[in-house]
Amino acid sequence: MREQLKTDLWVSLKQKRRGFAKGWYKFSRNLLSVLGLVVLILIVLAALLASYITPYPEHAKPYTNFKDAGKPPSTEHFFGTDRVGRDIFSRVIFGYRFSLTIGIVVLSLGVAPGVMLGLIAGYHQGTWIETVIMRITDIFLAVPPLVLALAITAMLTPNLKNQMMAIALVWWPWYSRLVFGLASSLRNEYFVREAELTGASKLHIMLKEILPNCLAPVMTKMTLDMGIVILLGATLSFIGLGVQPPKPGLGTMVAEGAKRLPGEWWGAIFPALAIVVVILAFNLVGDGLRDVFAVEEV
């Protein structure tokens, strides 16, 4: 038994190392996913180094220069300038900062509680604990996330912080539902039963036996969700309940630009394309990961 366990451990370690190379091989077979990854890395780098690489970093702050207002795209201003003469290209790069921040903060706030609740509910399958947690989850899922997030932000004061809090508040139920599904089937597996028989604590079983087996789908969903959360953030900003002008939120910029269509089309179209590109990149990478982990339902 002990010897067997040792060999198992050794094999699994070896597999893990080989697993990465194999995973990368699988991922790289999908050209679109690799393209998505490259675009994503470029966007993250650009957002991080925005102050150094953008042609007009001061345009992300309150700034006016009516002499250059409403200029069409040129070599000087790649995406043209807006109604107060700010360089749209620079503002889009800075806008990515907000988008990525929203994605990262929302997921780090929302995923952990969602996963924990799903884990607890799944482990206590068939008891009142499951009923309480999962019915509360149902209540949150009864309204599309956009509407609930909008309502909460509207009742608070619209700004970046509250927007992120609101989205995080409506985001955890998706993870608790996902993990609940996984955990409730895993808890009947032999290795969980065996751990129970050997007297492992509940916490140990949940965190060490069940949780690691849920991570691949959770990671895949997180990558796909980055895109969706960024979309939601841009949407809130577009409506006017997110990043407030003059800060360069991508959605805010589209809303401002849309007022000047069709004449100064570049004001709305370029920020809009920027949103599509970042979401598309996250989706492509997420799809690649889904193939690597062979995750079916996320």
Binding site: A151, G251, I279, N283
Partner: protein, 339 residues
């Protein structure tokens, strides 16, 4: 079967009750005084105090919730601090415009989604399949306000193929309101010309709403067509020399409808939330634009009502989908009776 429906009904009622509690709780813990918000900053202290008493704001939370729920049961959702009218009246005025738009969008996405799905599944790995995959990727990554702006820009402003924003041109007098559906009302008033104009105004916003659902429904139908095509009965039909079109739309589409119906139910609620954006872009005088205005003006009663209406629609549609599915798919029925 009845127990299944009863169980689902109970579940739905519970969810709605929980949702009302949740949203009421959030509305009450927010900073700011609802009475002050309702009266405006010119009201005296005594007036505010009187309204606080009327709104039961000085009572503990459960008592407040009780009174609120009692009023809700009577159809009284309070007064909107923005329009200064009862919220219920506002909802009755604005909901039909949105429902008309959403129903039209659902129709478009169901028809186009099914047809492209069937064709993409049958002509697998052809250019059509590739195109549908490309559009579905793009559809998922594009916020509906972006789609709306692009369509408005290209088809209305540049190509001038479609009319602009709103439900009707300003110079046209809308027909007397009966159902609130502009197309239906015009027909009832004997004015097919207005109905046609109204329909034209609906095309771009409806497509903006439908694009993502066309993509998703198309992919789901494709998957199930591909799956069913490998089954023996299709080979038998092929050998018998049944026409391709008949094979596609009679024998292959039918079993593929079940997953699509489920998705369409979910889609309906998401259409309502995406309508928030599309109505903003197209200045559509509907429920969603009312909701956005309420949110931008911190109109608490209206916000709570909006969330409840959407929750109600979502729950009812899901219940209906479950019941329809039960008739379509006997395995669901049997499973629920077994347990």
């Amino acid at each position: 079967m009845l127990t299944f429906i009863g169980k689902r009904l109970f579940q739905s009622l519970f969810v709605l009750f929980g949702l009302s509690l949740l949203i009421f709780f959030i509305a009450r813990i927010m900073p700011g005084d609802p009475a002050r918000a309702a009266l405006g900053h010119l009201a005296t202290k005594e007036q505010v105090e009187r309204v606080r008493e009327e709104m039961h704001l000085n009572d503990p939370f459960p008592v407040q919730y009780y009174y609120w729920l009692r009023n809700l049961m009577r159809g009284d959702l309070g007064k909107s601090s923005y329009t200064r009218r009862p919220v219920t009246m506002d909802l009755i005025q604005y909901i039909p415009a949105t429902f008309e738009l959403i129903l039209f969008a659902t129709l478009i996405s169901a028809i186009v989604g099914q047809v492209t799905g069937v064709l993409a599944g049958y002509f697998r790995n052809s250019w059509l399949d590739g195109l549908s995959r490309f559009v579905s990727y793009l559809g998922i990554a594009t916020p509906s306000f972006v789609v709306a702006i692009f369509l408005l820009f290209i088809f209305s402003q540049v190509l001038k193929m479609a009319p602009g924003v709103g439900r009707l041109p300003i110079i046209m007098t809308p027909p007397p309101r009966i159902t609130g559906f502009m197309t239906l009302d015009s027909l009832l008033a004997g004015r097919p010309d207005i109905a046609l104009t109204a329909l034209k105004h609906m095309i771009l916003p409806a497509i903006s709403l439908a694009v993502i659902h066309i993509a998703q429904e198309g992919r789901i139908t494709r998957t199930s067509i591909v799956e069913n095509m490998q089954k023996d009965y299709i080979t038998v039909h092929k050998v018998h020399g049944i026409r391709t079109s008949r094979l596609l739309f009679k024998y292959l589409l039918k079993p593929s409808i079940i997953p699509t119906v489920t998705v369409m139910g979910l889609d309906f609620a998401f259409l309502m939330s995406n309508a928030f954006l599309v109505e903003m872009v197209y200045m559509w005088p509907g429920f969603s634009r009312y909701a956005v205005t309420a949110m931008l003006n911190k109109d608490l009663n209206a916000i709570v009502a909006v969330v409840l209406v959407i929750g109600l629609t979502f729950t009812v549609v899901n219940l209906l989908v479950d019941i329809i599915m039960m008739f379509l798919d006997p395995t669901i029925r049997l499973r629920s009776e077994g347990s």
